[in-house]
Protein backbone atom coordinates (compact mmCIF):
# COMPACT_ATOMS: atom_id res chain seq x y z
CA UNK A 1 0.00 0.00 0.00
CA UNK A 2 2.89 2.31 -0.69
CA UNK A 3 2.19 5.66 -2.29
CA UNK A 4 4.90 7.16 -4.50
CA UNK A 5 5.37 10.90 -4.66
CA UNK A 6 7.20 12.96 -7.27
CA UNK A 7 7.62 16.71 -7.67
CA UNK A 8 5.80 18.36 -10.60
CA UNK A 9 7.43 21.77 -10.34
CA UNK A 10 7.51 23.84 -7.15
CA UNK A 11 3.71 24.02 -6.82
CA UNK A 12 2.54 20.46 -7.52
CA UNK A 13 3.02 16.83 -6.58
CA UNK A 14 2.32 13.68 -8.54
CA UNK A 15 1.16 10.76 -6.37
CA UNK A 16 1.74 7.29 -7.82
CA UNK A 17 -0.80 4.60 -6.94
CA UNK A 18 -1.27 0.91 -7.62
CA UNK A 19 -4.52 1.13 -9.59
CA UNK A 20 -7.04 3.47 -11.13
CA UNK A 21 -9.52 2.65 -8.36
CA UNK A 22 -6.92 3.79 -5.81
CA UNK A 23 -6.36 6.98 -7.79
CA UNK A 24 -10.11 7.71 -7.76
CA UNK A 25 -10.30 7.08 -4.01
CA UNK A 26 -7.27 9.25 -3.18
CA UNK A 27 -8.47 12.05 -5.49
CA UNK A 28 -11.86 12.19 -3.73
CA UNK A 29 -10.27 12.36 -0.31
CA UNK A 30 -7.76 15.00 -1.42
CA UNK A 31 -10.49 17.19 -2.91
CA UNK A 32 -12.49 16.99 0.31
CA UNK A 33 -9.74 17.33 2.88
CA UNK A 34 -6.39 18.55 1.62
CA UNK A 35 -5.58 22.16 2.58
CA UNK A 36 -4.35 24.74 0.09
CA UNK A 37 -5.03 22.55 -2.94
CA UNK A 38 -6.05 24.15 -6.26
CA UNK A 39 -6.50 21.16 -8.56
CA UNK A 40 -6.82 17.44 -7.92
CA UNK A 41 -6.34 15.61 -11.21
CA UNK A 42 -6.62 11.82 -11.35
CA UNK A 43 -4.62 10.08 -14.08
CA UNK A 44 -4.61 6.40 -14.95
CA UNK A 45 -2.65 5.41 -11.83
CA UNK A 46 -1.68 8.82 -10.48
CA UNK A 47 -3.17 11.88 -8.80
CA UNK A 48 -1.73 15.31 -9.58
CA UNK A 49 -2.14 17.81 -6.75
CA UNK A 50 -1.51 21.50 -7.46
CA UNK A 51 -1.18 23.95 -4.60
CA UNK A 52 -1.43 27.69 -3.95
CA UNK A 53 1.96 27.60 -2.22
CA UNK A 54 4.80 25.19 -1.44
CA UNK A 55 3.46 21.60 -1.46
CA UNK A 56 3.73 19.45 1.66
CA UNK A 57 4.57 15.97 0.36
CA UNK A 58 4.38 14.26 3.77
CA UNK A 59 0.87 15.55 4.35
CA UNK A 60 -0.27 14.49 0.87
CA UNK A 61 1.18 10.99 1.23
CA UNK A 62 -0.33 10.58 4.71
CA UNK A 63 -3.74 11.59 3.37
CA UNK A 64 -3.43 9.14 0.46
CA UNK A 65 -2.38 6.30 2.74
CA UNK A 66 -5.27 7.05 5.09
CA UNK A 67 -7.73 7.07 2.18
CA UNK A 68 -6.46 3.65 1.03
CA UNK A 69 -6.38 2.15 4.52
CA UNK A 70 -9.92 3.26 5.35
CA UNK A 71 -11.71 1.61 2.51
CA UNK A 72 -10.96 -1.39 0.31
CA UNK A 73 -14.37 -1.52 -1.35
CA UNK A 74 -14.74 0.04 -4.79
CA UNK A 75 -15.38 3.79 -4.58
CA UNK A 76 -19.07 4.66 -4.50
CA UNK A 77 -20.16 5.94 -7.88
CA UNK A 78 -22.99 6.87 -10.21
CA UNK A 79 -24.11 4.59 -13.06
CA UNK A 80 -24.56 6.35 -16.39
CA UNK A 81 -26.15 4.60 -19.39
CA UNK A 82 -25.41 5.95 -22.86
CA UNK A 83 -27.65 4.97 -25.80
CA UNK A 84 -25.49 4.43 -28.88
CA UNK A 85 -26.22 4.08 -32.59
CA UNK A 86 -23.42 1.81 -33.80
CA UNK A 87 -22.87 3.11 -37.32
CA UNK A 88 -19.31 4.49 -36.92
CA UNK A 89 -16.93 4.63 -39.89
CA UNK A 90 -14.35 2.37 -38.17
CA UNK A 91 -16.70 -0.41 -37.02
CA UNK A 92 -15.81 -2.70 -39.95
CA UNK A 93 -12.08 -2.06 -39.54
CA UNK A 94 -12.19 -2.76 -35.80
CA UNK A 95 -14.09 -5.98 -36.54
CA UNK A 96 -11.37 -7.01 -38.98
CA UNK A 97 -8.54 -6.14 -36.55
CA UNK A 98 -10.27 -8.12 -33.79
CA UNK A 99 -11.26 -11.04 -36.06
CA UNK A 100 -14.90 -10.55 -35.10
CA UNK A 101 -18.06 -9.61 -36.95
CA UNK A 102 -19.28 -6.00 -36.56
CA UNK A 103 -22.24 -7.37 -34.57
CA UNK A 104 -19.84 -9.12 -32.19
CA UNK A 105 -17.85 -5.90 -31.74
CA UNK A 106 -21.04 -4.08 -30.75
CA UNK A 107 -22.09 -6.90 -28.43
CA UNK A 108 -18.69 -6.91 -26.69
CA UNK A 109 -18.60 -3.11 -26.44
CA UNK A 110 -22.04 -3.16 -24.74
CA UNK A 111 -21.42 -6.22 -22.59
CA UNK A 112 -19.20 -4.66 -19.95
CA UNK A 113 -19.49 -1.91 -17.37
CA UNK A 114 -16.77 0.72 -17.70
CA UNK A 115 -15.20 2.95 -15.07
CA UNK A 116 -14.53 6.59 -15.91
CA UNK A 117 -10.83 6.40 -15.00
CA UNK A 118 -9.95 10.04 -15.44
CA UNK A 119 -10.78 13.02 -17.65
CA UNK A 120 -8.61 14.92 -20.09
CA UNK A 121 -7.99 15.70 -23.76
CA UNK A 122 -11.07 17.96 -23.80
CA UNK A 123 -13.61 19.23 -21.24
CA UNK A 124 -15.85 16.29 -20.32
CA UNK A 125 -13.79 13.62 -22.13
CA UNK A 126 -13.57 10.61 -19.82
CA UNK A 127 -11.11 7.78 -20.42
CA UNK A 128 -13.31 4.72 -19.83
CA UNK A 129 -11.48 1.70 -18.44
CA UNK A 130 -12.74 -1.87 -18.79
CA UNK A 131 -12.78 -2.43 -22.56
CA UNK A 132 -12.99 -6.08 -23.68
CA UNK A 133 -9.42 -7.25 -24.42
CA UNK A 134 -10.39 -8.41 -27.91
CA UNK A 135 -11.24 -4.79 -28.71
CA UNK A 136 -7.83 -3.38 -27.73
CA UNK A 137 -6.85 -1.87 -31.09
CA UNK A 138 -4.24 0.80 -31.77
CA UNK A 139 -5.11 4.39 -32.64
CA UNK A 140 -5.36 5.26 -36.30
CA UNK A 141 -2.00 6.03 -37.89
CA UNK A 142 -3.50 9.24 -39.31
CA UNK A 143 -5.75 11.08 -36.86
CA UNK A 144 -8.91 12.59 -38.32
CA UNK A 145 -9.10 16.38 -38.32
CA UNK A 146 -12.83 16.40 -37.54
CA UNK A 147 -14.57 13.95 -35.24
CA UNK A 148 -18.17 15.01 -34.49
CA UNK A 149 -19.29 15.59 -30.89
CA UNK A 150 -21.09 12.55 -29.42
CA UNK A 151 -18.89 10.06 -31.29
CA UNK A 152 -18.25 6.84 -29.35
CA UNK A 153 -14.72 5.54 -29.93
CA UNK A 154 -12.05 3.13 -28.73
CA UNK A 155 -8.22 3.09 -28.68
CA UNK A 156 -5.82 0.91 -26.74
CA UNK A 157 -7.35 -0.07 -23.39
CA UNK A 158 -9.86 2.79 -23.42
CA UNK A 159 -13.27 3.69 -24.73
CA UNK A 160 -14.55 7.27 -24.77
CA UNK A 161 -17.05 9.74 -26.15
CA UNK A 162 -15.94 12.93 -27.91
CA UNK A 163 -17.77 15.78 -26.12
CA UNK A 164 -17.55 18.19 -29.06
CA UNK A 165 -16.17 18.28 -32.57
CA UNK A 166 -12.40 17.96 -32.44
CA UNK A 167 -9.48 16.23 -34.11
CA UNK A 168 -9.08 12.62 -33.00
CA UNK A 169 -7.11 9.45 -33.64
CA UNK A 170 -9.41 6.91 -31.98
CA UNK A 171 -11.49 4.30 -33.86
CA UNK A 172 -15.07 5.47 -34.24
CA UNK A 173 -17.78 2.93 -33.44
CA UNK A 174 -20.97 4.98 -33.17
CA UNK A 175 -22.68 8.03 -31.76
CA UNK A 176 -24.75 9.08 -28.78
CA UNK A 177 -27.07 12.05 -28.20
CA UNK A 178 -25.86 12.41 -24.60
CA UNK A 179 -24.33 15.82 -23.85
CA UNK A 180 -20.97 15.04 -22.25
CA UNK A 181 -20.13 18.63 -21.37
CA UNK A 182 -22.24 21.75 -20.94
CA UNK A 183 -20.58 24.73 -19.26
CA UNK A 184 -23.98 26.08 -18.15
CA UNK A 185 -24.91 22.85 -16.36
CA UNK A 186 -23.92 21.88 -12.80
CA UNK A 187 -21.85 19.80 -12.86
CA UNK A 188 -20.73 20.68 -16.39
CA UNK A 189 -19.25 17.23 -17.12
CA UNK A 190 -21.70 14.32 -17.43
CA UNK A 191 -19.03 11.87 -16.23
CA UNK A 192 -16.80 12.15 -13.17
CA UNK A 193 -13.82 9.92 -12.45
CA UNK A 194 -15.08 6.79 -10.69
CA UNK A 195 -18.49 6.76 -12.41
CA UNK A 196 -19.72 3.50 -13.94
CA UNK A 197 -20.71 3.69 -17.60
CA UNK A 198 -22.63 1.28 -19.84
CA UNK A 199 -23.29 1.57 -23.56
CA UNK A 200 -26.70 0.43 -24.78
CA UNK A 201 -27.17 -0.27 -28.50
CA UNK A 202 -30.24 1.36 -30.02
Amino acid sequence: MSVGVRPAGDRALLLELASNADAVRVARRARAELRGVVDVVPGHETVLLTFEAEPRPDEAVALAEAALADDHSPPESALVELAVTYDGPDLAEVAELASLSPEEVVARHCAVSYTAGFLGFAPGFAYLVGLDQRLHVPRRAEPRTHVPGGTVAIAGVYSGVYPRESPGGWRLLGRTDAVLFDASREPPALLASGDQVRFVAR
Binding site: L14, D39, V40, P42, G43, T46, L48, G120, P188, A192
Partner: protein
Protein backbone atom coordinates in the same frame (compact mmCIF):
# COMPACT_ATOMS: atom_id res chain seq x y z
CA UNK B 1 -17.68 50.59 -25.92
CA UNK B 2 -14.54 49.83 -27.90
CA UNK B 3 -14.53 49.12 -31.62
CA UNK B 4 -11.88 46.67 -32.80
CA UNK B 5 -10.28 47.96 -36.01
CA UNK B 6 -7.47 45.38 -36.21
CA UNK B 7 -6.38 42.51 -33.98
CA UNK B 8 -2.83 41.81 -35.15
CA UNK B 9 -2.02 38.07 -35.47
CA UNK B 10 -4.16 37.09 -32.46
CA UNK B 11 -6.08 38.99 -29.80
CA UNK B 12 -8.11 37.24 -27.10
CA UNK B 13 -9.85 38.26 -23.90
CA UNK B 14 -8.00 36.93 -20.83
CA UNK B 15 -8.30 37.02 -17.07
CA UNK B 16 -7.10 34.65 -14.33
CA UNK B 17 -8.57 31.64 -16.15
CA UNK B 18 -10.28 28.54 -14.79
CA UNK B 19 -8.07 26.94 -12.14
CA UNK B 20 -9.68 24.21 -10.09
CA UNK B 21 -11.53 22.46 -12.94
CA UNK B 22 -8.71 20.31 -14.35
CA UNK B 23 -10.44 17.12 -13.14
CA UNK B 24 -13.23 17.90 -15.63
CA UNK B 25 -10.72 18.22 -18.46
CA UNK B 26 -10.89 22.04 -18.33
CA UNK B 27 -7.50 23.74 -18.92
CA UNK B 28 -6.35 26.51 -16.57
CA UNK B 29 -6.25 29.05 -19.43
CA UNK B 30 -5.89 32.72 -18.39
CA UNK B 31 -3.26 35.33 -19.29
CA UNK B 32 -0.09 33.82 -20.80
CA UNK B 33 1.99 36.44 -18.93
CA UNK B 34 0.12 36.68 -15.60
CA UNK B 35 2.65 39.16 -14.19
CA UNK B 36 1.95 41.72 -16.92
CA UNK B 37 -1.78 41.06 -16.83
CA UNK B 38 -2.04 41.64 -13.06
CA UNK B 39 0.07 44.77 -13.33
CA UNK B 40 -2.22 46.16 -16.05
CA UNK B 41 -5.25 45.89 -13.78
CA UNK B 42 -3.40 47.69 -10.99
CA UNK B 43 -2.30 50.49 -13.33
CA UNK B 44 -5.93 51.28 -14.27
CA UNK B 45 -7.34 50.61 -10.78
CA UNK B 46 -9.30 47.46 -11.61
CA UNK B 47 -10.25 44.73 -9.20
CA UNK B 48 -7.96 41.71 -9.50
CA UNK B 49 -9.43 39.33 -12.08
CA UNK B 50 -10.90 41.97 -14.41
CA UNK B 51 -10.55 40.90 -18.04
CA UNK B 52 -8.02 42.46 -20.44
CA UNK B 53 -7.16 42.06 -24.09
CA UNK B 54 -4.13 39.87 -24.76
CA UNK B 55 -2.51 40.69 -28.12
CA UNK B 56 0.24 38.70 -29.81
CA UNK B 57 3.34 40.10 -31.56
CA UNK B 58 1.53 43.20 -32.90
CA UNK B 59 -1.63 45.24 -32.36
CA UNK B 60 -4.38 45.69 -31.55
CA UNK B 61 -5.88 48.81 -33.13
CA UNK B 62 -8.90 50.05 -31.18
CA UNK B 63 -11.29 52.99 -31.49
CA UNK B 64 -12.76 54.11 -28.18
CA UNK B 65 -16.45 55.10 -28.39
CA UNK B 66 -16.55 56.38 -24.80
CA UNK B 67 -14.01 57.98 -22.43
CA UNK B 68 -11.64 55.35 -21.06
CA UNK B 69 -8.56 54.90 -18.90
CA UNK B 70 -6.15 52.44 -20.50
CA UNK B 71 -2.73 50.90 -19.77
CA UNK B 72 -0.43 48.68 -21.81
CA UNK B 73 1.77 46.07 -20.14
CA UNK B 74 3.95 43.15 -21.17
CA UNK B 75 5.89 43.77 -24.37
CA UNK B 76 4.90 47.47 -24.18
CA UNK B 77 4.89 49.86 -21.20
CA UNK B 78 2.29 52.58 -20.97
CA UNK B 79 1.10 53.59 -17.52
CA UNK B 80 -2.53 54.69 -17.37
CA UNK B 81 -3.59 57.21 -20.03
CA UNK B 82 -6.95 58.63 -21.07
CA UNK B 83 -8.74 58.01 -24.33
CA UNK B 84 -11.55 60.31 -25.52
CA UNK B 85 -14.47 59.18 -27.67
CA UNK B 86 -13.21 58.71 -31.23
CA UNK B 87 -9.55 58.28 -30.18
CA UNK B 88 -7.70 55.41 -31.85
CA UNK B 89 -5.08 53.32 -30.05
CA UNK B 90 -2.77 51.50 -32.47
CA UNK B 91 -0.03 49.28 -31.05
CA UNK B 92 2.84 48.75 -33.48
CA UNK B 93 4.62 45.36 -33.82
CA UNK B 94 6.61 44.76 -30.64
CA UNK B 95 10.38 45.04 -30.73
CA UNK B 96 10.75 42.50 -27.95
CA UNK B 97 8.46 40.04 -26.19
CA UNK B 98 5.30 38.47 -27.58
CA UNK B 99 2.27 39.67 -25.62
CA UNK B 100 0.75 43.02 -24.80
CA UNK B 101 -2.12 43.43 -22.35
CA UNK B 102 -4.55 46.24 -23.01
CA UNK B 103 -6.15 46.93 -19.64
CA UNK B 104 -9.18 49.22 -19.58
CA UNK B 105 -10.55 50.68 -16.36
CA UNK B 106 -13.71 48.63 -15.69
CA UNK B 107 -12.40 45.58 -17.55
CA UNK B 108 -13.59 43.99 -20.80
CA UNK B 109 -17.15 42.78 -20.34
CA UNK B 110 -17.88 39.51 -22.11
CA UNK B 111 -20.03 36.64 -20.83
CA UNK B 112 -18.06 34.59 -18.27
CA UNK B 113 -17.94 30.82 -18.82
CA UNK B 114 -17.22 28.67 -15.76
CA UNK B 115 -16.26 31.76 -13.81
CA UNK B 116 -13.81 33.20 -16.35
CA UNK B 117 -13.85 35.48 -19.40
CA UNK B 118 -10.73 33.81 -20.84
CA UNK B 119 -10.71 32.32 -24.31
CA UNK B 120 -9.36 28.77 -24.17
CA UNK B 121 -7.90 28.15 -27.61
CA UNK B 122 -7.73 24.40 -27.16
CA UNK B 123 -11.24 23.63 -25.95
CA UNK B 124 -13.07 26.66 -27.34
CA UNK B 125 -14.43 27.59 -23.88
CA UNK B 126 -15.01 31.28 -23.25
CA UNK B 127 -15.57 34.08 -25.73
CA UNK B 128 -14.54 33.65 -29.38
CA UNK B 129 -11.20 35.06 -30.52
CA UNK B 130 -11.48 38.85 -30.98
CA UNK B 131 -12.14 39.89 -34.61
CA UNK B 132 -11.87 43.18 -36.46
CA UNK B 133 -15.31 44.77 -36.40
CA UNK B 134 -16.15 43.48 -32.90
CA UNK B 135 -17.52 46.05 -30.46
CA UNK B 136 -16.47 45.31 -26.88
CA UNK B 137 -18.27 46.57 -23.79
CA UNK B 138 -16.41 48.03 -20.83
CA UNK B 139 -17.38 46.38 -17.54
CA UNK B 140 -17.76 47.63 -13.97
CA UNK B 141 -14.72 46.01 -12.41
CA UNK B 142 -13.07 49.30 -11.42
CA UNK B 143 -11.94 48.93 -7.83
CA UNK B 144 -9.76 51.78 -6.61
CA UNK B 145 -7.46 54.50 -7.79
CA UNK B 146 -5.00 53.68 -10.57
CA UNK B 147 -1.66 52.71 -9.05
CA UNK B 148 1.72 54.02 -10.05
CA UNK B 149 4.19 51.22 -10.47
CA UNK B 150 7.84 51.12 -11.51
CA UNK B 151 8.59 49.90 -15.04
CA UNK B 152 8.77 46.17 -15.50
CA UNK B 153 11.27 44.98 -18.05
CA UNK B 154 11.37 41.84 -20.11
CA UNK B 155 14.41 39.60 -19.89
CA UNK B 156 16.66 39.79 -22.93
CA UNK B 157 18.16 36.28 -22.96
CA UNK B 158 15.78 34.33 -20.79
CA UNK B 159 17.05 31.54 -18.55
CA UNK B 160 14.09 29.74 -17.00
CA UNK B 161 14.64 27.85 -13.76
CA UNK B 162 13.20 24.31 -13.78
CA UNK B 163 12.48 21.67 -11.16
CA UNK B 164 13.46 18.19 -12.47
CA UNK B 165 10.66 15.62 -12.72
CA UNK B 166 8.14 14.19 -12.35
CA UNK B 167 9.54 11.79 -15.00
CA UNK B 168 13.21 12.76 -15.25
CA UNK B 169 14.01 9.05 -14.67
CA UNK B 170 12.21 8.18 -17.92
CA UNK B 171 15.14 9.61 -19.88
CA UNK B 172 18.59 8.42 -20.87
CA UNK B 173 21.50 9.46 -18.66
CA UNK B 174 22.57 12.97 -19.54
CA UNK B 175 19.16 14.14 -20.81
CA UNK B 176 18.67 16.55 -17.92
CA UNK B 177 22.17 17.92 -18.49
CA UNK B 178 21.39 18.29 -22.21
CA UNK B 179 18.24 20.22 -21.32
CA UNK B 180 20.20 22.78 -19.32
CA UNK B 181 23.52 22.83 -21.23
CA UNK B 182 22.27 24.09 -24.59
CA UNK B 183 19.96 26.87 -25.77
CA UNK B 184 16.60 25.89 -27.30
CA UNK B 185 14.94 27.62 -30.18
CA UNK B 186 11.24 28.36 -29.93
CA UNK B 187 9.48 27.02 -33.02
CA UNK B 188 7.05 29.25 -34.92
CA UNK B 189 4.43 26.51 -34.51
CA UNK B 190 3.91 27.54 -30.88
CA UNK B 191 0.80 28.96 -29.25
CA UNK B 192 -1.04 29.26 -25.93
CA UNK B 193 -1.39 25.46 -25.80
CA UNK B 194 2.31 24.74 -26.06
CA UNK B 195 5.70 26.12 -27.06
CA UNK B 196 7.61 23.74 -29.31
CA UNK B 197 11.35 23.77 -28.67
CA UNK B 198 14.06 22.73 -31.09
CA UNK B 199 17.52 21.61 -30.05
CA UNK B 200 19.40 18.63 -28.66
CA UNK B 201 17.36 15.40 -28.83
CA UNK B 202 16.29 14.23 -25.35
CA UNK B 203 16.36 10.43 -25.51
CA UNK B 204 13.90 8.24 -23.64
CA UNK B 205 15.52 5.43 -21.66
CA UNK B 206 12.36 3.34 -21.82
CA UNK B 207 10.45 1.82 -24.65
CA UNK B 208 7.04 1.62 -23.01
CA UNK B 209 4.05 3.91 -23.02
CA UNK B 210 3.44 6.13 -20.02
CA UNK B 211 -0.11 5.98 -18.71
CA UNK B 212 -1.79 9.37 -18.96
CA UNK B 213 -1.25 11.64 -15.96
CA UNK B 214 -2.09 15.18 -14.91
CA UNK B 215 -0.08 18.07 -16.39
CA UNK B 216 0.80 21.56 -15.16
CA UNK B 217 1.54 24.80 -17.01
CA UNK B 218 5.29 25.04 -17.50
CA UNK B 219 5.81 21.28 -17.86
CA UNK B 220 8.45 20.23 -20.41
CA UNK B 221 6.73 17.28 -22.03
CA UNK B 222 8.90 15.18 -24.33
CA UNK B 223 7.30 13.17 -27.17
CA UNK B 224 9.27 10.34 -28.83
CA UNK B 225 10.82 12.91 -31.21
CA UNK B 226 12.92 14.08 -28.23
CA UNK B 227 11.97 17.72 -28.88
CA UNK B 228 10.24 19.14 -25.79
CA UNK B 229 6.92 20.96 -25.71
CA UNK B 230 6.65 23.61 -22.99
CA UNK B 231 3.01 23.62 -21.90
CA UNK B 232 1.17 26.94 -21.90
CA UNK B 233 -2.05 27.96 -20.14
CA UNK B 234 -4.40 26.24 -22.63
CA UNK B 235 -2.58 22.89 -22.26
CA UNK B 236 -4.50 19.59 -22.08
CA UNK B 237 -5.10 18.55 -18.47
CA UNK B 238 -3.70 15.03 -18.89
CA UNK B 239 -1.20 13.46 -21.26
CA UNK B 240 0.93 10.40 -21.83
CA UNK B 241 4.33 11.85 -22.73
CA UNK B 242 6.90 11.99 -19.91
CA UNK B 243 7.65 15.38 -18.33
CA UNK B 244 11.39 15.79 -17.75
CA UNK B 245 11.12 19.04 -15.74
CA UNK B 246 8.74 21.88 -14.86
CA UNK B 247 9.44 25.61 -15.03
CA UNK B 248 9.57 27.29 -11.60
CA UNK B 249 6.38 29.22 -10.72
CA UNK B 250 8.28 32.52 -10.41
CA UNK B 251 9.46 32.22 -14.02
CA UNK B 252 6.16 31.10 -15.55
CA UNK B 253 5.28 34.62 -16.71
CA UNK B 254 8.17 34.45 -19.17
CA UNK B 255 6.37 31.73 -21.14
CA UNK B 256 4.04 34.44 -22.37
CA UNK B 257 6.90 36.58 -23.66
CA UNK B 258 9.17 34.04 -25.38
CA UNK B 259 9.44 34.91 -29.06
CA UNK B 260 9.19 32.46 -31.94
CA UNK B 261 12.65 31.93 -33.47
CA UNK B 262 14.48 33.16 -30.38
CA UNK B 263 16.55 31.17 -27.91
CA UNK B 264 15.66 30.17 -24.37
CA UNK B 265 17.80 28.40 -21.79
CA UNK B 266 16.93 26.34 -18.74
CA UNK B 267 18.73 25.97 -15.43
CA UNK B 268 18.15 23.62 -12.51
Amino acid sequence: MIEVLDTGPLTTVQDRGRPGLAHLGVSPSGAADPRAYERGNRLVGNRPGAASLEATLAGPKLRFLEPAVVALTGAEHWPAFEMAPGDVLAVEPYARGTRVYVSVRGGIDVEPVLGSRSTDLMSGLGPPVVRAGDVLRVGNEAGGAPEELPDQRLVAEPVLRVVPGPRADWFAAGALEALTAHPWRMSISSNRVGIRLEGERLEWARNEELRSEGLVTGALQVPPSGQPILLGPDHPTTGGYPVIAVVHSEDLWQLGQLRPGEAVRFSV
